[in-house]
Amino acid sequence: MSTRFVNMLVAAVTLATGIAGPALAQGSDSSAPSLAARVAALETRITRLEDANQIERVQRTYGYFVDKGLWTPLSELFSDDATLEIGGRGVFVGRKRVLEYMQTAFGTDGVKEGRIQNHMQFQQITDIAPDGLHGQARSRAFVMAGGWGLPLYENDYVKENGVWKISKLKGPFTMYTAWEGWHKSATPNTRPDSFMPPPDLPPSVVYLTYPSYYIIPFHYAHPVTGAPWKVGAGDAGAQPFAPPAVPR
């Protein structure tokens, strides 16, 4: 977030120092934006930073909830008609199904004695749509449990009545392994029938996890060249793993 803040502050200072100039010239240049318009533009930019901030809080809080099995508050992070798709399990539609998925698959609310299920939320790249009501983020979870896991996220968020919520959580797995290490074992991707409950819709994409690979499309253009991500045939590949794969 700090780069964002720095950019924002530079923008704020630039804009603030710029206000007096055009304002002075306003009498002779009717095309210059009015002071009020410049202030409104500044407010929009500040609001976007607050939006990105809040989306980060929501996603990080999602992680803190998973850690401790707080499924009910977790489901309340989602909009009414949100979708959830984790690993290869297929798509669950609606906040109630999000809760059913979590409680059926992982048990009632509250982490159980002797369990650790940390889903640490890192490396978020957040973007807000020009309408200020929709957001997208790519991020990763680093899972530290009995073994290791690496889901990625390409999530959508929606601002309803001034409140940011998750509208689409899409978390394809990069890799799951036993504790002994990713050089020694690899757990296959989940499937719609891996565990209960069944999904509402089939997986949006079928892919294999490490040692195979799949690049979930980037929601954003290249930050330097500006080129949008083009989905290519080489974005997924299959690779057998020499040691026997271990069951999940």
């Binding site: 502050l9 603030a16 007096a20 304002a23 002071l35 509250g110 640490m120």
Partner: protein, 242 residues
């Protein structure tokens, strides 16, 4: 600096006729005042993020003087079940329980500061934050541990400078690197007999395989209600679900 600039700009703007009505100008003035406040809160949040990151970098290398100087004069430090140390000098001494002052060859003491959820108070004078702590401890060929936990910290701004007022690290787990959580669990350290804390632990819990949910300082980000939950059962402490 931006505050000053905005103020000067505002004064300059107010001194000009602009062809706008007095009402229009006072609306703009009010709006600029509001925006100044919002920018200040974002800057405060950034300062706190940097402050806690600095804590981690100093802690990694056992720079206890630098660590304790991040706290207010009456700041408090609580790590796992070690109890609470109050005041800069007490904190500096307590940190010696984690090793001698300064970096040491053959010792890894990484305390990564990650996943912050920061809330600055509306008045911009205090703040609270939840953080993720990942810990890597090692002695070559002797021991290696992964640790993990959650911070719930408080900060205050004194003389324009953000400081740690209360640091509380809730240890989730420490585990042997080679064995992992399925085969190993190292209990959290209790209060030191050599250098006892000023107060006992504020909350009694067992780290892994025990489970404990550190309370959230903030309301649910969507519902706005307090985040409430029963603490999970613990057979050793005899804690039962209600």
């Amino acid at each position: 600096m931006s505050r000053k600039l905005v103020m000067l700009t505002l004064l300059a703007a107010l001194a000009l006729p602009l062809g706008a009505s007095a009402q229009g100008l006072s609306d703009v003035e009010a709006k600029v005042g509001e925006l100044r406040k919002r920018v200040a809160l974002l800057k405060d949040q950034e300062a706190i993020e940097n402050l806690q990151a600095a804590y981690g970098f100093y802690f990694d290398k056992m720079l206890w003087g630098e660590v304790s100087d991040l706290f207010t004069a009456r700041g408090s430090f609580e790590y796992g079940q070690r109890g609470v140390y109050i005041g800069k000098e007490r904190i500096r001494k307590a940190l010696l329980l984690f090793g001698a002052e300064g970096p040491e060859a053959g010792k890894l003491n990484n305390h990564m500061q990650l996943q912050p959820v920061i809330h600055v108070a509306e008045d911009g004078r205090s703040a609270k934050a939840r953080w993720r702590g990942m810990v890597q401890l090692a002695r070559p060929h002797a021991s290696g541990q992964w640790g993990e936990g959650v911070y719930e910290n408080e900060y205050v701004k004194e003389g324009g400078v953000w400081k740690i007022a209360r640091l509380h690290f809730y240890v989730t787990a420490f585990v042997d690197y080679d064995l992992g959580f399925t085969k190993s669990a190292n209990p959290a350290e209790g209060p030191s007999a050599l250098f006892p804390p000023d107060q006992p632990p504020t909350e009694i819990y067992r780290s892994f395989p025990g489970v404990y949910i550190p309370p959230f300082h903030y309301p649910h980000p969507v519902t706005g209600k307090p985040i409430t939950f029963p603490q999970p059962a613990d057979t050793v402490l005899g804690r039962k679900l209600p």
